[in-house]
Subunit: 328 residues, 2 copies
């Protein structure tokens, strides 16, 4: 008898998609958020589960766990151009959890929600063996501002918000017991790019959008598969995070590009934008203090090529499994 | 250092309520569903987590687990008079889970959603040590049809849909290895009362409403606390389930009233209705094949009294913990 591990992640998700009945009011599964037709708007819904042993770094404080749970869900709303309406949270806690721990977790979740002008409107707690945190965020977006994963066209420009490798740098900094907090803050308390998502959505120039919490390479492969297109990515154009540069200064054995390309946990948005609109889009975002960096182009050829000066190689698809969402 | 077990369930929920910032678009926490103001309607959102060791009976098939997860979430939408828009599900599965198990679970979840004219629109899977299932259902209800937990008034009539003790009977039937499927079907594949909830909501006569999945007594105590009222419940008026009668015929040591009053898992609706409107409400529901049984009255006196012929005693508040939702 085959088990889930034999089946593999992709086949498992294909299997779910085949079984589920498609609704008439939904775009179907496979985007950062589920969408429900509300007339002029879409209701956006996303859910994410974190489990102590496999998804929560041991150095994470309870406050940060709460923050992280909310931030990772809000990031999916951001990637679709949405405005959050609220969140519901389900917690599974072992009985031995201290009241202090529990309170700090709720405070962290509340602080993140409030920071992004939204609130936790309800939830559920259960007794479990290991800490299990499940968040669901919901929001709305005007239909003509919805940024789908589907829509990338050859000739589009590929761009990312913010910087890459923050989370990877934080992970290694913690692993090596560095004490500089600024090295791992972005890893443990990520910032969902809601402002950036709204700004992008209002430009009407984004053809496809995805959050890169699974890693840049994994997200590019996701867009490649959905849109049946390829990419040419310029390695030198990748906006490396200052955290990453600091880490590399301390550890010459670390390849910053590998972390920037493959490590999950950077809650930035990856978009493809029509070539004629990219300059105006960048200019408008810059006015609001948002950096949108062009890192490549969408190609007809169906592979993902990394250009490093004169070198050209196929980009590997290696997301870090412990961060990867197996979304359906 | 105090831990969660010392704190107790009620104090833990009070603690969550104190920490969370209240949003301006939400009615706040403490109802079957969270509500978000959408203008003419409320968006209803509810979430529920099931965990193998503590919440899933060993006899439950994977198909039934999927069904149960969806049904328990839809029941909360039903209790508020809502129409479901969809669900998102988060699964935590151990690697050793068979593909067959996984497929059956998805089929069960899909079948339940489709049975109640809704769909599963997305989700997330993670690798966990024990099976963890987290569902979130969302729906809408017109503001003037929303049935809150708040609003019960002395003089109101207390009524329940359907029958009581089905789940309790199923639990005991399984425990004693009885083979009659009809004894435990309602326990393992509960039916969310969405049709009943809509019918009730349209009457505009319901003053407060709650689902009794935590048990009738626990739900009465919940309404008592929120509304600062008491209840007089007529034991002889309780609509005992046929499953319960069958069980008692086999086991004379089982007290059917105790199961009907205290055992969780009956996904019926408990409502208080204005006394002048109860007859019309019952009549209208009966036309649609729905039985709404009057079981008592709301009192000014703040205790919950059970009348058994000439006997009068305070109703105990004992929900079965393994079913109880610790909702915030």
């Amino acid at each position: 008898m085959k088990n889930l591990a034999d089946l593999g992640e992709r086949a498992a998700i294909r299997c779910i998609r085949e079984i589920l009945t498609k609704g008439t009011n939904s775009k179907g599964i496979g985007d950062d958020c589920a969408t429900i037709d509300l007339g002029k708007e879409y209701l956006l819904v996303t859910t994410d589960m974190m489990y102590q042993r496999t998804h929560i770094p041991v150095q994470m404080t309870p406050y940060q766990m709460g923050w992280f749970l909310v931030a990772s869900n809000l990031s999916d709303i951001a990637a679709k151009g949405g405005t959050p309406l609220g969140l519901v949270l389900s917690f599974g806690f072992p009985k031995k959890i201290s009241v202090q721990f529990f309170k700090e977790l709720i405070k962290g979740a509340d602080a993140c929600a409030v920071s992004f002008d939204t609130t936790i409107v309800g939830g559920d707690t259960k007794e479990t063996q290991e800490i299990t945190l499940c968040g669901t965020a919901f929001g709305t977006v005007k239909k003509d501002e919805f940024m789908s994963r589907t829509g990338a066209q050859p000739g589009d420009v590929v761009a990312v918000t913010g910087t890459l490798g923050k989370a990877g740098a934080g992970y290694y900094a913690l692993k090596r017991h560095y004490s500089e907090k600024k090295l791992f803050k972005a890893f443990l308390e990520p910032v969902p790019k809601l402002k950036e998502g709204r700004l992008l959505a209002k430009q009407h120039s984004v053809r496809s959008s995805i959050d890169i919490s699974d890693g840049l390479s994994a997200s590019l492969y996701e867009l490649h598969e959905i849109n049946n297109v390829g990419f040419e990515i310029q390695q030198s154009a990748l906006p490396l995070a200052s955290e990453l540069c600091l880490l590399v200064a301390k550890n010459h054995d670390i390849d910053p590009y590998s972390l920037a390309l493959h490590f999950g946990g950077d809650y930035e948005l990856l978009v493809t934008v029509s070539a004629e609109a990219i300059e105006k889009t960048q200019k408008t975002l810059r006015k609001h203090g948002v950096d949108l960096r062009v890192i490549g182009t969408v190609t007809k050829k169906k592979n993902i090529v990394l250009l490093d000066g004169a070198n050209k190689r196929i980009l590997e698809n290696k997301g870090y499994e412990h961060f990867k969402k197996h979304r359906f």
